[in-house]
């Protein structure tokens, strides 16, 4: 059976695992943005938290992915279900680019724009909402884009702990020493990463308000 035939024969399972993979990546990125962007904003307001927060996110990212899955396994609730565990680990991995880009994006706003806005009497929230976030959006989206692409890749390892996703095929294929099986997982995963990169790049170009001054 050629590669194309194998794909066709197993298209149901490939599709299911692709959806599962999307679920893992989607949930993790949602959490990473929901946690990371506010943290990034926080450290622009409290310089003292800069090192601890960026430092922790950095440490999490430095831990080898499989090892991180291993560390989280004994935890109650998190370790009880494979997909919960996988999402927790993937969220941890995605945090650093999101927090860091939120921070640099906001700090990169033209200081005279910030000074004029403060001098006008904008409250801190108004400054964030009307000035800093719109102007930092391009950089923040770039961070989300990088984090998403990384997460698609690391999510293939989730299969090793039984969380499903396209890694299933990859591990199965390695065990069976069958290239077709490996590629049945690897190719969709690679395509997913490329698609995510493309879509988020498009969003970055078209959704960011005209900010060139």
């Amino acid at each position: 059976m050629s590669l194309m035939e194998y794909f066709y024969r197993n298209r149901a399972e490939i599709w299911m695992l692709t959806l599962q993979h999307c679920w893992l990546v989607g949930m993790s990125m949602l959490l990473a943005v929901a946690i990371g962007v506010p943290l990034g904003i926080l450290i622009t307001r409290r310089a003292s938290l800069n090192k601890p927060i960026l430092g922790s996110a950095n440490i999490i990212q430095t831990i080898p992915s499989l090892a991180l899955f291993g560390f989280l396994m004994p935890l109650p609730w998190l370790g009880a279900r494979a997909d919960r565990l996988a999402i927790a680990a993937l969220t941890g991995y995605a945090l650093l680019p999101v927090i860091r880009n939120t921070y640099t994006g906001i700090m990169g706003v033209d200081p005279s724009v910030r000074e004029a806005a403060r001098g006008m009497g904008l409250t801190d929230w108004q400054l964030l909402w009307h000035v800093e976030l719109p102007l930092a959006l391009g950089v923040i989206l770039a961070g989300i884009r990088v984090a998403t692409v990384i997460t698609v890749g690391v999510a293939t390892i989730a299969a090793a702990i039984g969380a499903g996703g396209l890694g299933e095929f990859i591990f199965r294929g390695l065990a069976m020493v069958d290239n077709r099986v490996i590629l049945a997982g690897a190719i969709p995963a690679a395509l997913m990463a490329l698609l995510a990169d493309f879509l988020l790049g498009w969003a970055g170009r078209h959704l960011v308000p005209s900010a060139k001054s």
Partner: protein, 257 residues
């Protein structure tokens, strides 16, 4: 804030000291009063503390010692947001929001104050006309499409948007070419004749100081040398003033081109 009962001293500095690191005093023993309706120029060399003085009025900086009062009330008693919204602030770099149109830039404060869109729309039109910019041409443009002089005009319009009694201007025309600067100074004087705001204007340019100011406060190394009307300044025998006067003579219109 009540505009009907204008306290004679709109702004007052009492024994103000500013020493951010506890060692070098950027400002010391500053006692200064700004009367309603006047244009007080803070004149001095770079680093003499004039911008610092300005920023204490809208609390972008707080004094290390002494008191700053606006409309008779200590700035520390004012809600900082309300204080700033009652004071127009114009800086050299202008600081227009690059992702907003000119209309949105000028209308931002009215919008935040809850003005109905119709009223804001009309008001923006009035303000653009006041600063000699054709509303139809400019309201939908972005700051990047404007020249330096046009941007600063928008900056002034924006500062006037909520009709504040006080305007703070930090070397607002410093980045403009001499021709544009002269033009804008003239327009500014005409505007001030109409509006009669209380203006504190920072500059290091003696020509500008004499052109726009009704009174000059001369600062040197963080201390107030004195306050002078135009005539008093030109007639003064104080050595620091004389240093400026010699520059004035050397670079004035009579000086060799």
């Amino acid at each position: 804030m009540p505009q009907q009962e204008q306290v004679p001293q709109m702004i007052e500095f009492r024994n103000v000291r500013y020493s951010p690191d506890g060692q070098r005093a950027v400002l010391s023993d500053l006692n200064l009063k700004v009367e309603a309706g006047e244009t007080l120029v803070l004149l001095g060399r770079s680093g003499c503390g004039k911008t610092t003085t300005l920023k204490m009025i809208n609390r972008l900086l707080d004094p290390t010692g002494g008191e700053v009062l606006v409309e008779g009330k200590s700035v520390l008693e004012w809600d900082p947001i309300r204080l700033r919204r009652g004071i127009g602030y114009v800086i050299q770099e202008v600081g227009l929001l690059p992702h907003f149109t000119i209309e949105r830039n000028i209308g931002l404060l009215p919008q935040l104050e809850g003005w109905p869109p119709e009223r804001t729309h009309c008001h923006v039109e009035e303000l653009l006309e006041m600063v000699a910019l054709d509303p139809a041409t400019f309201r939908h443009r972005y700051p990047r499409e404007l020249s330096g002089g046009q941007r600063q005009r928008v900056g002034v319009a924006r500062a006037l948007a909520a009709d504040p009694p006080i305007l703070l201007m930090d070397e607002p025309f410093g980045a403009l070419d001499p021709l544009t600067r002269a033009e804008i100074q003239k327009e500014f004087l005409a505007l001030q004749q109409r509006l009669r705001k209380t203006i504190v204007f920072v500059t290091h340019d003696i020509h500008e100081a004499l052109t726009v100011g009704t009174r000059i406060a001369l600062l040197k190394a963080g201390q107030l040398v004195g306050t002078y009307s135009r005539k008093e300044f030109l007639d003064s025998s104080d050595p620091t003033v004389n240093a400026y006067l010699s520059v004035l003579r050397a670079t004035g219109p009579e000086a060799g081109a």
